[in-house]
């Protein structure tokens, strides 16, 4: 993906991160977004911590994109459907009933109707991940950025996610999946094995 063309990434030297050699241990422990936001900087890319912190703050408050990351959890005291609709409840108060109906349909299509009123600790990693995707989707923002690998215990489940996020790609929303090259290679290797 050409990150350089997109405004939020232009501010940060992402190309350097993409070409950097990271050990698999780093890849598995550090969230890619942590890296992007310079919460952790093993490559010493953050010259001035304060300016990067400011950049991170601006990044997360940018209303053009919704982020799906391990770093951004679901609310523990809300049910799955309330988590999905939380930003809508807050920002789009006119269409609550319609949005609720749409969220119920989306959960049904993802075979997750049974967890509609459950809390996230009663759900599997995959279910939590899909819920986060739906939450991002329902914000109706232009871009959704997802960070899939670290949120799942098994990289093979990414194949399932590929199928499930199809409906998002058919809409006007742009979807970016970002992660380390090392994870990408692990995933490709698994795919080859399965083939």
């Amino acid at each position: 993906l050409s990150f350089e063309k997109n405004l939020p990434f232009r501010q940060i030297s992402f190309q350097k991160i993409a070409n950097a050699k990271l050990s698999s241990a780093d890849g598995s422990r550090t969230s890619c977004l942590d890296f992007l936001f310079c919460k952790k900087s093993p490559l010493k890319l953050c010259d001035t911590q304060s300016s990067m912190e400011e950049m991170r703050r601006n990044f997360v408050r940018d209303k053009r994109f919704a982020v799906v990351s391990l770093w951004l959890p679901l609310m523990a005291n809300l049910s799955i459907i309330d988590n999905i609709l939380l930003p809508s409840y807050y920002l789009d108060t006119d269409n609550i009933s319609t949005l609720k109906h749409q969220a119920e349909i989306a959960l049904e299509r993802l075979d997750m109707a049974s967890i509609t009123h459950k809390r996230y600790h009663e759900c599997s990693d995959e279910m939590i991940f899909y819920t986060k995707i739906l939450r991002a989707y329902f914000t109706k923002r232009e871009i959704v950025i997802i960070e899939p690998f670290l949120q799942l215990s098994d990289v093979e489940t990414f194949a399932m996610i590929e199928d499930r996020v199809e409906f998002m790609l058919q809409t006007k929303i742009t979807l970016y999946a970002i992660d380390y090259l090392v994870n990408q290679k692990r995933y490709d290797k698994n795919k080859e094995k399965d083939a």
Partner: protein
Amino acid sequence: VFERFVKLGLDTIYLVQELIAFIYFLNRTIVAIFSFKTYNVAMLNVLIKQIYFTSVQMFGLFFFLSLIIGTLVVSLLILAGHTLGVSEVNNRFLTYFIAVELAPLFTVLLISLRSGSAINTEIAVMRVSNEVEMLECYGIDVIGYLVVPRVISGGVSVLVLSMLFVLVSFVGGYFFGLLYGAIHFTYYFLLWMNSFELFELYIMVFKSVMFGFVSMVIPIYSGLGLSVKSYTAIPISVMRGMVKLSVAIILIEVLSLSLQLL
């Protein structure tokens, strides 16, 4: 000696900075309370839940404790009045003491112990687990969504439960009076009503709302202000929050008594 002065200076600067940050937080909270934008579906959902957790859930326990404490205090004061032969003065003192002093203080102590500590822990956990940052990321105002509903529920709960305390004490005192012979309910009711002044009602409402406000604002501020994002920092945050809350409750009580003296 020089090092001690330096330490004293640094401590003072730290204290002033803390105070300014808290005043800024208070200002944002008060502005948000009176802002129309704050009141949306998400916020109202939280408000209903918070009122349920703070007042409805503890209703049974509160009623039981109020009945014991209220009846005992009313009974003791009535007996003391009769013994000393100052019933009329005593009735004035009784209504004042129960409504203005005991009811709000008893209620805020129970709410602080139960809900204040729980809210401090909840917010600190949310801070550690990045839930607060998630809200910011999705454009949700943390003050409007997390702070305002809890603060309003605190004010409403302390006020309503204080009134309940007064009512329970009043009824408890009546039943105690029955033990000592027949007492007419209307006479008893009028005795209370005549002893009660409107000004005292204002003080009670104001005190209850203030108590409710601080019993929520201080624990929330303490939870949000977690310096280290670690689960081990949560007990320290709760401890500091509760200490500050105790000091604030005493300060409000002292302030209220001082104002009444003037």
